[in-house]
Symmetry: C2
Subunit: 190 residues, 2 copies
């Protein structure tokens, strides 16, 4: 990301480097934003717990503990929430690929879930980290791409053109509701 | 439950007995309804996974398995979903108490969650099983009761008057969206 400061000095990737240095990853930034939204009463958005099939529970320590559990395949997306009366459902995906986003990152039942959410008038999207930028990629654009392409990955240019770049801000760093306001609610927030 | 049939024969608790005999409980009935809604493309509603803190994972069998996990306290409700563009969030509660519903069944952070959902224009409610009947009890009525009472339980009569009785049907047995249609959307569904 190139930031042009008032004095015309180009600064490359400043806050990306800074958050990477602080050990923050995409999930961290989304959780941070969700906490901010909750504390400031802007939205109720949370990460769904990892689905674990509980196979054996022990009560040795006095309180129940899982001593055998297996990871179930996820059939939905990672995050769910409520914003301005609308249902939100989304997943965070990062690719190290520089030229495209491999579709193998998304399971077929997740695509089915996105289609259903859109059909029932909810908001479904991906937050994609690619080339050190973070985009909100609307579910509609994803379904469009899949329906009209045989490719196994989405070219970076398609994401640039159809996704919404999330600019980093101070607090929260990843204020993704700003682009949701613009795209889904056609309004700006201060 | 007393059903008055056209021939004036009283039948008591027929389908309650029948579903109890088949080992169905409240959670089973809600899951069955949610599957029905999903298959018939009426809504997207699912149970949130139980939040488990993963403390230790083993890879002995080739795939990851939880060998130490603890149960985290739930901060939200059990079910979440999308229906006609609206966000739904609810919990299922059963009491064996015949005269009232003890409020200790609901955690304080769950009440906070219900308040938030209502504030952000979502639909929050409880499905309460009491005296062999099942009621949808709107979050607004719950908050009203808590704000205006010092009692530690909600009298059954209050639930009868302010809740929405869910009549049993053939498929799904617990078609709770019908009362949601009436109460929240002011419409009837065939």
């Amino acid at each position: 990301m190139i930031l042009l400061y008032p004095n015309k000095i180009k600064k490359e990737n400043t806050n990306i480097i800074s958050y990477a240095n602080r050990g923050m990853d995409l999930e961290y930034l989304i959780n941070e934003a969700n906490n901010y939204y909750l504390l400031n009463d802007l939205a109720v958005i949370y990460k769904k717990p990892t689905p674990i099939q509980i196979n054996k529970v022990s009560f040795k320590t006095g309180k129940p503990e899982v001593i055998k559990g297996s990871f179930n395949q996820k059939s939905t997306l990672d995050y769910v929430g409520l914003y301005k009366g609308k249902y939100l459902d989304f997943d965070a995906k990062k690719t190290l690929n520089k030229t495209s986003f491999p579709l193998e990152n998304i399971h077929i039942h997740q695509i089915e879930h996105i289609k259903r959410v859109i059909k029932h008038d909810g908001i479904a999207f991906l937050i994609i980290e690619i080339c050190e930028k973070i985009y909100l990629f609307p579910g509609e654009k994803l379904i469009d791409f899949i329906n009209n392409n045989d490719r196994k990955s989405i070219p970076y240019m398609y994401i640039e053109e159809n996704g919404l770049l999330i600019n980093y801000t101070y607090n929260p760093v990843l204020d993704y509701l700003k682009v949701i306001d613009k795209y889904y609610f056609k309004e700006e927030r201060d």
